[in-house]
């Protein structure tokens, strides 16, 4: 492999990885607090991309405005999903919530198929994303530069919220012990609501950037990125935010680099990632940064 392709593929892997990281955050935050795998998260990602598509293509709003509106609206959709679907089963056995999550996922996918149709739509990306930028000997597309930069900025903002604000502190305390946090006078449902909003906002940002990278969107576009981001969350240590970020970049790089080094395996790229998921579940189910499982009393 020449240096040129190596740089291109590395940038490609990093940008893909940063998108997985953005999506993985939503899985891991909800799991950390509710011990729930939010299967609908991958469809929230799709919803974000569609919102941006409509604001740009239908309402002809400027790009930045469309993206921000889409992120805000998707955050609201995440809160509504929590309020309408998950809160009613909060005290039910955990399997009920899990099945509810699968149901919400199917609901959103089919709602998309019914309302916007199954035909993929062409996503108009902003010009900076398609411009080619030279890095050393390599020519790298704008997407591969901007996606990691924007993603890292969002991840930094997230870490700030989680570690430096009251809401973040409440999230951390809820994830340690929901019952005790309640006894501190904290309205736990509100904290959970914010958690869904933040996770969904990041998924929307991921969805929009994904559509910039692969500019065709359809209502089922979230499924594969969702599963891979879920893999990233597990590999990093589910429930651990930093772990989800590390897992995301790792999965993105592994996926791109296997294909780059062994082009013959390109048909197996999804299979390789899911094999990695199985290996981790078998050998180290708590992931890279996860703490050993301890039974809650």
């Amino acid at each position: 492999m020449t240096l040129e392709t190596l740089i291109q593929q590395l940038m490609n892997g990093i940008s893909l990885g940063s998108l997985y990281a953005l999506i993985a955050i939503g899985y891991t935050m909800v799991y950390g607090i509710l011990r729930l795998i939010n299967f609908a998260h991958s469809d929230i990602f799709m919803v974000g991309a569609y919102f941006a598509f409509f604001f740009v293509a239908v309402f002809h709003l400027p790009w930045a405005v469309s993206a921000i509106l889409a992120v805000v609206l998707t955050a609201a959709v995440g809160m509504i999903v929590d309020r309408a679907a998950y809160r009613p089963v909060r005290n039910a056995p955990r399997i009920s919530a899990l099945i509810t999550a699968v149901g919400v996922s199917f609901f959103l996918e089919n709602l998309g198929l019914v309302t916007v149709g199954a035909r993929p739509k062409a996503f108009q990306r902003p010009d900076v994303m398609s411009k080619v930028v030279p890095i050393g000997p390599a020519a790298v597309s704008g997407v591969s530069i901007w996606v990691p930069i924007l993603s890292l900025a969002l991840l930094a903002l997230l870490l700030f919220i989680v570690h430096r604000t009251k809401v973040g502190m409440a999230m951390r305390s809820v994830s340690t012990d929901i019952e005790t946090t309640r006894l501190m006078g904290v309205d736990v449902d509100r904290v959970i609501s914010y958690t869904f909003a933040i996770g969904s906002a990041l998924a929307a940002a991921g969805g929009i950037m994904w559509a910039c990278k692969y500019p065709q969107i359809n209502p089922l576009m979230g499924i594969y990125p969702g599963w891979k981001a879920f893999t990233a969350a597990v590999v990093g240590g589910i429930g651990n935010i930093t772990g989800a970020m590390i897992g995301g970049f790792l999965i993105g790089l592994v996926e791109i680099m296997t294909v780059a080094v062994l082009p013959g395996l390109s048909g197996y790229r999804d299979g390789i990632i899911f094999t990695l998921l199985l290996v981790f579940l078998l050998i180290r189910p708590t992931g890279i940064l996860g703490e050993p499982l301890k039974e809650k009393v």
Binding site: T165, K166, M169, T181, R182, L183, M184, G185
Partner: protein, 262 residues
């Protein structure tokens, strides 16, 4: 309400019963605790003591009966609202936010009292910064008063056991309670630590103007600091009185040691 006029009654449990399936965990439990009192609740394992606490804090809703706090009916309130009303508790097995710092543990309860919105927090507006600084100052002041100020930046989970117990009480105090429920505060402590704890409990009661209701197995602590003791067994009250009265009550002795067969 009538209870408020009854000469400073803080907590009233009025014929409280709770059933889990066929099991009656607490049966027709009545109790009045007056302002400033230090009341102990004792009984053999599984007698329903912690269940009584869980009912007071709103973690369980009683099957029947009422819970009154300062004359207000709080039966079936959500735990966060009960906490906001002025009742705090600690747990039998320490349940700190182990990953948070000592200071952050006492700041969690400040969360609701902050008026600033999420956005102003995220963007660090001056109004938020001011409130945040005030909350921190209050938290540090509290840690100072319980003797944990030096450890404010440590992770709560890394403290020695005795300090963790003390922090759990400090965290409860941070909610500004008027009624403090302590569930086996001396569990796992050696006699020396228990002696310190007894002094500590009496001191915070006076300093913070608290009413204290505690569950304890350590008879030295219960007999040493409680003014009034209630004994329950199988969810039913079997005795009440001063430490001296309880120690010589045949029903209590039978419940603890088992009845003699003839």
């Amino acid at each position: 309400m009538e209870a408020r006029t009854q000469n400073g009654v803080v907590l009233t449990l009025d014929h409280v019963t709770i059933k889990f399936g066929g099991l009656v965990a607490v049966n027709d439990f009545c109790l009045d605790i007056r302002k400033g009192e230090l009341v102990g609740l004792i009984g053999p394992n599984g007698a329903g003591k912690t269940t009584v606490f869980n009912i007071v804090t709103g973690q369980y809703a009683p099957t029947s009966g009422r819970v009154l706090f300062e004359g207000q009916d709080i039966t079936g309130w959500r735990p966060d609202l009960v906490a906001a009303a002025g009742i705090a508790r600690t747990f039998q097995n320490v349940r700190l936010f182990t990953g948070l710092t000592v200071l952050d543990n006492v700041l969690v309860s400040q969360h609701l009292r902050l008026k600033s919105s999420f956005l102003s927090a995220a963007f660090r507006l001056p109004s938020y910064a001011k409130e945040d600084a005030e909350a921190r100052a209050r938290g540090m002041d509290l840690l100072q008063r319980v003797g944990l100020a030096d450890l404010a930046r440590e992770q709560a989970g890394s403290l020695p056991y005795g300090q963790q117990r003390r922090l759990e009480i400090a965290r409860a105090l941070a909610t500004n309670p008027r009624l403090l429920l302590l569930d086996e505060p001396a569990a796992g402590m050696n006699p020396e630590e228990t002696t310190q704890l007894m002094k500590f409990i009496c001191r915070i009661r006076d300093e913070f103007g608290l009413t204290v209701f505690l569950i304890e197995h350590d008879m030295r602590l219960v007999m040493g600091i409680c003014e009034r003791i209630r004994v329950i067994d199988y969810g039913v009250s079997i005795a009440e009185g001063t430490p001296q009265e309880i120690q010589s009550d045949p029903g209590v002795i039978a419940a603890y040691l088992g009845e003699e067969e003839d």
